[in-house]
């Protein structure tokens, strides 16, 4: 038996021997540093010294807003939670997390997961289709290794690339953030409102969970691009369709959210944060429903890729 690790090593070799891959990695590092430098040198720097005063005024606004909504007979969970958290901050002397701190910066950087998704789509779109366009698929397949194993090694390599990029983003933003903003205030917890009270949470855990939520979308787009790449053997088609859907999908779902059937569209389900803070796109959707939908889509994408790759006549 050919060792599966060796197949993964091969795919990684082919991925990282190409300049394009390093350009993408470089761009991610550049974007991360850009966010840091912009926050440090362009944004207003001493706006948050009087945070206690600011919070008190904010609380007054929130309270009046709450009264208004109560008169209209609707509850406002979000405002209530925010109030509770603000009170907790004042009592325990925890200033709010702002962008010009290590944690604030690291939280901002989690938004760059979209960037990672973009590059992961490029990798996923090429990893099968390129073998066809280069003509190397012939020599790759005439080995004592089943086609499904070769495809799996490519799929896993793409996932490893995405995970690698996210770990890179996380660790570099930690290092870069400490250098730019110092480490004062790192002992601060993240505050969440849970079961009627404010709970302290480890900040690192919170940041990792942000990456986790963002990665669901990334993972599904990766699988979609991989599927198109395998079925149509065209990396540009795979990149085109995947990017188009990644950018327009969520908007489209918002637009059509009055229709019940929208909840069966992938993009209505990939943002699981709609259940942890906020309201679901279509009323009555639950976390379990979304996770099931994501799994169904995943199984369809993967099944299509495997069945077609397994059966195809290779005439490239």
């Amino acid at each position: 038996m050919v060792s599966f690790i060796d197949l993964i090593r091969n795919e990684n070799m082919k991925l990282y021997k190409r300049t394009g891959t390093w350009v993408m990695i470089g761009l991610i590092i550049l974007a991360m540093s850009g966010v840091g430098l912009f926050t440090k040198f362009v944004l207003d720097s001493d706006a948050h010294i009087n945070w206690k005063e600011e919070l008190k005024t904010e609380n007054m606004q929130l309270e009046s807003a709450l009264k208004d909504t109560e008169q209209m007979g609707v509850g406002n969970d979000y405002v209530e939670q925010q109030l509770a958290i603000n009170h907790y901050r004042l009592e325990n002397d925890y200033p709010p997390v702002h962008s010009e701190s290590l944690w604030g910066f690291m939280i901002d950087v989690t938004n760059l997961t979209g960037f990672v998704a973009l590059f992961t789509i490029v990798v996923a779109a090429g990893i099968v289709a390129n073998e066809f366009s280069w003509g190397t698929i012939k020599l790759l397949l005439i080995r004592p290794v089943s086609r499904s194993k070769i495809l799996l090694s490519k799929f896993i390599t793409t996932i490893l690339f995405a995970i690698g990029m996210i770990i890179l983003l996380f660790s570099l933003s930690f290092i870069f953030g400490s250098l730019l903003f110092g480490v004062s205030g790192v002992e601060q917890p993240h505050l969440v409102y849970q079961d009627g009270q404010v709970v302290e949470q480890n900040m690192i855990t919170y940041i990792i969970s942000l990456y986790g939520f963002n990665s669901i979308d990334l993972f599904m787009m990766l699988t979609l691009a991989f599927m198109i790449s395998t079925v149509f053997r065209s990396s540009s088609l795979a990149i085109g369709i995947s990017l188009f859907l990644m950018f327009t999908g969520p908007q489209l779902v918002q637009l059509l959210s009055n229709y019940e059937w929208v909840k069966y569209i992938l993009f209505a389900n990939t943002n699981l944060q709609q259940y942890t803070n906020g309201t679901p796109i279509v009323e009555g959707m639950t976390m379990t429903f979304s996770i099931s939908m994501i799994m169904i889509y995943f199984i369809i994408f993967v099944a299509l890729s495997w069945v077609i790759f397994e059966k195809r006549d290779v005439t490239a």
Binding site: L7, M13, K17, W134, T136, K138, L141, I142, D313
Partner: protein, 306 residues
């Protein structure tokens, strides 16, 4: 040992749409033998080879490699096959050596560094093995393709037009090398080409494929014998009588009248006899010209008559 068929095609057919691209091909290649697969462009050589290595499905029939079916037990059957299919496309952004490492990792039995170096030496790529393949000439890529096919010491080597793009010295080198590995390492070699002249110097047997059908299989010896036949043109008077005379004399050969000449196919040693017979029977022989048939003519003859 000599009688073990390394690869056997049994009534192999390939249908795409409604067209029979390959129509009922059966053949065997034995250990230590170089088998030439000869046919004009579009005859179906590459298609046959793709079926033999499992790149495309076999519509009907069976391909056995060392007795193992490529359809039913792919991984086991392909284990002993090395090949080049059409152009040897490799990863251009990697060095030749990295390309070989890539393929070396894809066999169950470990390919040692020594083996890789030995193969590199065999195909004469020592100087450029650490360069990027993107910088290789076509000939260098052919050599790297050959190296890749030999890495795991297969018992069957399948080469689709391996001398395509090589200069005469390169062609001779590859040819010598192919003969050597077949005979010394007892490997079976299946090599396709559309040039008979090339096959002539390399192969032990030749199968001729045309429009997807295997029209003949000959040993190289037989083909060389056939080529000893020459077509001669005799300027002789009176023409018609001479024609009937020769027609009676050489029953089995092709004979015809063309532009006031008699055109007849004869073996070399029959030419003086023919002349003597004509003179002794009072025909006026003004001249005999011989148009030597080459192997190439023979090949065209075989493929055109079908």
């Amino acid at each position: 040992m000599e009688n073990q068929a390394v690869v056997e095609l049994i009534n192999v057919k390939k249908q795409i749409g409604n067209i029979n691209i390959i129509d009922d091909i059966s053949l065997k290649v034995f250990q230590g033998e170089v088998f030439g697969f000869l046919g004009p462009n579009g005859a179906g050589k590459t298609t046959t080879i793709r079926m033999m290595v499992g790149l495309i499905g076999i519509t009907e029939g069976e391909v056995l490699i060392n007795g193992v079916s490529i359809k039913k037990n792919y991984e086991k059957a392909i284990l002993n096959v090395g090949g080049i299919i059409e152009n040897p496309e490799m990863y251009k952004f990697m060095s030749g050596y990295d390309n070989l490492i890539h393929y070396a990792r894809m066999v169950p039995k470990k390919v040692t560094k020594e083996r890789i170096n030995k193969v590199v030496q065999l195909v004469g790529l020592e100087k450029s093995i650490n360069h990027k393949v993107g910088r290789y000439s076509l000939g260098m890529r052919q050599r790297l393709g050959l190296a890749q096919a030999l890495l795991h010491s297969p018992s069957l080597l399948i080469l689709d037009e391996p001398t395509n793009g090589l200069d005469p010295a390169g062609i001779r080198e590859i040819r010598t090398y192919i003969r050597k590995i077949a005979h010394e390492e007892n490997m079976a070699v299946f090599v396709s080409s559309h040039l008979l002249s090339e096959m002539q110097l390399m192969c032990d047997r030749i199968g001729i494929i045309q429009n997807g059908k295997l029209v003949r299989v000959e040993t190289m010896g037989d083909i060389v014998d056939m080529s000893k036949e020459a077509t001669i043109r005799i300027h002789v008077e009176p023409l018609d009588e001479a024609f009937h005379f020769l027609y009676a004399l050489y029953e089995k050969t092709d004979i015809e009248i063309e532009d006031n000449f008699i055109k007849i196919s004869l073996k070399q040693e029959q030419i003086p006899q023919c002349n003597k017979a004509l003179v002794e029977n009072d025909f006026m022989v003004y001249g005999i010209t011989s148009t030597q048939t080459t192997l190439e003519d023979k090949f065209l003859e075989i493929t055109e008559e079908k």
